[in-house]
């Protein structure tokens, strides 16, 4: 049953409030994208939220970190505490699991959640998180943005929302991850400098990610949610990339076979 608070979202279904209250989600990375997601989860009524980040608020975050204040920067507030404050301010009864540190340090807690929002920087970080999510059969909704600058041309803002659903195509299948981008990233390691980040594209990507999560949990659109959306930040459009038509999305993922026991759970030693 929906309540007065959620009466305007009752079209999501009779049991949507229960579903939001029962589902356990984690938001990994509480920067520009993750802070938007956390805020929306609080508004919608998600009540079991794990939030993970190793950083404290800095002045350069204030252009995009939703919920952060100048005072937070002054006292060096942890991003997890800023996010927790935001959720609790919207929903005092929410059970917020504050996971300060890198997500790998909290893997045993994150393994228990039903859905992960991945808001990490970099290809290698996404590779590792997707591998973890697949091993534990957890849907992962990944978002990220970047700004590229070619000589003389206007900066090009891009981003993505990828739904990595166990059994479905992974980031490798979609060619978002490949050895070229991983090698390039590894070569630049330590020399990348601060990545451009602004608030509005993160808002678009985060809203799409939350919208997909709500649809996954309620099925209100009665459609299969998108697998891959690409943001053109200059024209402010979010759409499936044209190259998606080249891939057979019905083909089982060969990188993370869904029917292979050995690809799931904790590693075990088997004597043959």
């Amino acid at each position: 049953m929906t309540t007065e608070r959620t009466s305007r979202q009752s079209f999501l279904g009779d049991h949507s409030d229960d579903q939001f209250a029962r589902v356990s989600v984690a938001v990994l990375g509480l920067g520009g994208g993750g802070s938007h997601i956390v805020q929306q989860l609080g508004h919608i009524g998600f009540s079991r939220i794990g939030i993970c980040d190793p950083d404290v608020a800095e002045e350069s975050n204030l252009n995009r970190l939703v919920g952060a204040t100048e005072k937070d920067v002054e006292v060096g507030a942890r991003k997890v505490d800023i996010a927790s404050r935001m959720i609790k301010g919207l929903r005092g009864t929410a059970k917020v699991q504050v996971l300060f540190g890198r997500w790998e340090e909290h893997a045993n807690t994150i393994a228990d959640v039903d859905l992960i929002f991945g808001c990490l920087d970099g290809y290698a970080a996404r590779r590792d998180l997707e591998s973890f999510a697949r091993r534990h059969l957890i849907p992962l909704i990944d978002i990220g943005m970047d700004v590229h600058r070619a000589d003389g041309a206007a900066p090009q803002m891009s981003g993505q929302v990828i739904v990595s659903m166990p059994g479905g195509p992974c980031m490798w299948c979609l060619n978002y991850l490949n050895n070229v981008v991983l090698t390039r990233e590894a070569e630049k390691y330590g020399a990348a400098g601060p990545r451009p980040q602004v608030v509005w594209p993160n808002g678009i990507l985060a809203s799409a990610a939350v919208g997909i999560a709500v649809d996954l949990l309620t099925g209100w659109t009665q459609q299969r949610p998108p697998i891959y959306l690409e943001l053109d930040g200059n024209s402010l459009t979010l759409a499936p990339p044209a190259r998606l038509a080249l891939y057979d999305l019905q083909k089982p993922c060969r990188h993370f076979p869904a029917d292979d026991v050995d690809h799931h759970g904790d590693p075990v030693f088997k004597v043959r």
Binding site: R48, N108, H136, L137, D215, L217, P225, V261, H264, G265
Partner: protein, 168 residues
């Protein structure tokens, strides 16, 4: 400590379809689900990956119970769990809406069926799952523990996601 079970919607659909098939004389169908466990900060997560129905010929005709399976069915399940190094669950269904309950017969007769799994794959969880039309109830034995624990949640991963048997 919690025991959380997770499986894909495709596998869940297969299991449900199989358990709803009529049998020549048994009133209920039975199968075994296999998976791997992961230790979590709150307990154990069992990721179910495969399901084998009990063969028609491995049922014994006993009108006093919903279904009785013979030693060959259990031996096959034990062998499969051993080959996979897997956690294993005895699975059946009570075809009604709402939370299902294990019958007195279930609780008396099914735990001994799963007991040998503790010796064959000692490092994995074993248990019982009973599905209804829209819910699930489960019991699980975690390695190193003598008594069973109630399964606290079953997550069906797909589109839409289903959270059934949630007793959080």
């Amino acid at each position: 400590m919690t025991v959380h079970v997770r499986l894909t919607s495709a596998l869940y659909k297969d299991i449900r379809a199989d358990l709803e098939r009529p049998h020549e004389f048994a009133a209920e169908r039975v199968g075994f689900a296999y998976g791997r466990q992961a230790l979590t900060s709150s307990g154990v997560l069992v990721i179910v990956i495969a399901f084998d129905p009990v063969a028609d010929s491995d049922y014994e005709d006993d009108p006093s119970v919903g279904a009785r399976i013979g030693a060959p069915a259990i031996n096959k399940a034990l062998q499969r769990a051993a080959s996979l190094g897997a956690a294993a669950f005895h699975v059946h269904a009570h075809l009604h809406a709402g939370p299902p309950r294990f019958s007195r017969t279930d609780l008396a007769q099914l735990p001994p069926v799963m007991e040998p799994f503790a010796h064959i794959v000692s490092n994995q969880t074993r248990g019982l799952l009973v599905f209804s039309d829209d819910d699930c109830t489960g019991l699980a034995w975690v390695p190193g523990e003598r008594s069973s624990r109630r399964v606290s949640a079953v997550t069906v991963v797909g589109s839409p996601m289903q959270l059934i048997g949630v007793r959080r």
